[in-house]
């Protein structure tokens, strides 16, 4: 049986939700899946990933090296394990940490790399990803081994497939690189849901009119069961929302199950960041707004009135 590796990103020792879709991508060809916990323990990783079909969890160590603060050495260690276990492919999340690690590993292994993939066919070495800032879809053929792919969060649906995984301790025989040191990780000021990995996003545009008014979206986000809140560039440039909330070509690329755009006209630059959402809902006072030509459900009306009503309906029916 062929073997595929999956980098598993963890936060506070919990596997991040979006990783389960990556595992599903690795499982498509019925490969035996090896998980590599990043930033967490093998035990905690095993409990979560075995539900999704992972067979082996690699407990990686390098003598005398602190892997969490040296991305180059961590990449060398994983690359060494990929060779050792003869993995034909390695998948990970296309998150800032994921794509950074995957790129490092690909260069060490002289392997082909495709990041931000929407679909992968590991058997054929074919991937689908965006080109031209989301304007076109490209199909690429990767040659060489192993195939290394970063998957856009939520692009592949997770699929439960329970089994009992084993933990494989592996001591990588690599030297610490010591050229890069993570000195500090600054946490976000407030506990926010990562936009790029959220299942539901509600975003506000220019007519939000103030930072204060974003409270209306946050309340609706809570009623949606913990959605993330985003913004258009017009809202960010006007100072109504911080830059890391911007969705679009020069902001975040997101692929949630549900994207609710409130008072957003639907510019191509905004769409570049959210057009792969499964369902798009638009709320806009202008029935001619371009966004109505590119969404699934359109509501003509004042965003404040509609969002308030939506929050109430959700609260009443939950």
């Amino acid at each position: 049986m062929l073997r595929t590796g999956v980098l598993t990103e963890m936060n506070d020792n919990r596997v991040r939700e979006a990783n389960f879709g990556v595992i599903a991508g690795a499982r498509e060809g019925d490969d035996e899946v090896y998980a590599f916990p990043v930033n967490g323990t093998a035990d905690a990783c095993k409990d979560a990933v075995q539900t999704y079909g992972v067979e082996k969890v690699v407990d990686l160590a390098v003598e005398g090296a602190e892997l969490s603060s040296d991305p180059e050495t961590l990449a060398k260690a994983i690359a060494d394990a990929v060779r050792h276990f003869e993995l034909k492919a390695l998948l990970g999340l296309n998150s800032p940490r994921g794509r950074d690690l995957l790129a490092r590993i690909a260069t060490i292994l002289d392997a082909p790399l495709a990041l931000d993939c929407l679909k992968v066919d590991l058997g054929q070495g074919i991937v689908t990803k965006s080109h031209f800032s989301g304007k076109t879809l490209a199909t690429l053929k990767l040659s060489g081994t192993p195939l290394i792919c970063g998957i856009r969060p939520n692009a592949i649906r997770s699929r439960p497939d329970p089994r009992e995984a084993d933990i494989l301790p592996y001591q990588a025989s690599v030297e610490g690189a010591g050229r890069i040191r993570v000195k500090e990780v600054k946490k976000a000021e407030s506990e926010t849901i990562d936009l790029t990995e959220a299942n539901i996003i509600i975003s506000g545009g220019r007519p939000m009119n103030s930072a204060e008014n974003f409270k209306v979206l946050h309340e609706c986000a809570d009623a949606l069961g913990g959605a993330a809140v985003g913004a258009s560039r017009a809202a960010v440039d006007a100072g109504f929302a911080p830059h890391d909330m911007q969705v679009g070509q020069t902001g975040k690329t997101v692929s949630p199950q549900l994207y609710i755009a409130c008072g957003i006209s639907g510019s191509i630059q905004h769409f570049a960041g959210m057009k792969t959402a499964k369902v798009i809902v638009a709320v806009n006072t202008d029935e001619e707004a371009p966004i109505f030509g590119k969404c699934d459900y359109g509501l003509v009306g004042d965003l404040f009135e509609v969002v308030l009503a939506l929050t109430e309906v959700l609260k009443a029916s939950s």
Partner: protein, 255 residues
């Protein structure tokens, strides 16, 4: 300080992309410097202003890519190197080998700046491959950068509002992200001066590069699939909200 900046000549992000044949596109649209590479040029110029030295702009691209080098020069870059290729798509493994070869032959980089990604191929890897070829460390998606006591100090966003502070030994390759700086607009006087600056020319085919161990080949380009006709929901705000929730639950099954 000798700082190299790697630039890609790409279609303007506002240009319409018309697909031609299986994997080509109509290249008669306006081309510009890859937007993220502007941050790279600006950062290199800032550092050279403080520390002294020169900024050299390097590109692998078709003949027309020379205009992106000229633009970097109008911003203030001192020299340019143009490796001519006969296609817009050159595999990142080949591009990085070509960049390595000419940079190596040209001088001794103290720093190399690139963008975090190109906006046409969105490969997000040329800089990592170049760093590996030159045996330098690479950091990407950098939003603040400085040199302190002979080391590079960089900050990068890692998602969910979290940021990493990194210390990197020099020389290194740095991938610039939005927020690193505000790229300048070239002044008329600089544009005129830039016309006299030197661009060394090479031909990709003549560099004698080995065939890389891996590759990625573009097989097909297609338009992103559009959605069907939107379902418009009418009524009072309350009625709209009720119908929307019902449809999201029962039809779309996303709630």
């Amino acid at each position: 300080m000798q700082i190299y900046v790697c630039l890609k000549h790409v279609p303007d992000t506002v240009a319409m992309i018309n697909i031609v044949g299986d994997a080509g596109f109509d290249e008669s649209v306006k081309f510009v410097m890859n937007p993220y590479d502007e941050y790279a040029v600006e950062e290199a110029l800032k550092i050279v202003k403080q520390e002294g030295g020169e900024v050299i702009a390097v590109t692998v691209g078709k003949e027309a890519a020379a205009s992106t080098i000229r633009y970097a020069m109008a911003m203030g870059a001192h020299r340019g190197i143009h490796i001519q290729a006969d296609a817009q798509w050159v595999d990142s493994m080949v591009t990085s080998q070509a960049l390595k070869k000419v940079i190596h032959a040209d001088g001794t980089p103290d720093l190399i700046f690139t963008g975090k990604q190109s906006v046409d191929g969105e490969g997000m890897q040329t800089h990592y491959r170049l760093a590996a070829a030159l045996d330098m460390p690479a950091v990407n998606e950098v939003t603040t950068f400085s040199i302190q006591e002979g080391k590079a100090v960089a900050e990068r966003e890692v998602g969910g509002g979290e940021r990493e502070m990194l210390e990197i030994s020099l020389p290194c390759v740095v991938g610039a992200s939005k927020g690193l700086n505000e790229p300048r607009y070239p002044k008329m006087t600089e544009i005129i001066k830039s016309k006299k600056k030197k661009i060394d020319q090479f031909n990709l085919a003549d560099l004698g590069l080995e065939t890389p161990a891996a590759s990625s080949e573009l097989l097909k380009l297609e338009e992103m699939p559009e959605r069907g006709q939107a379902k418009m929901i009418g009524g009072s705000p309350k009625e709209m909200a009720e119908e929307l929730v019902q449809r999201l639950r029962e039809d779309a099954k996303v709630l």
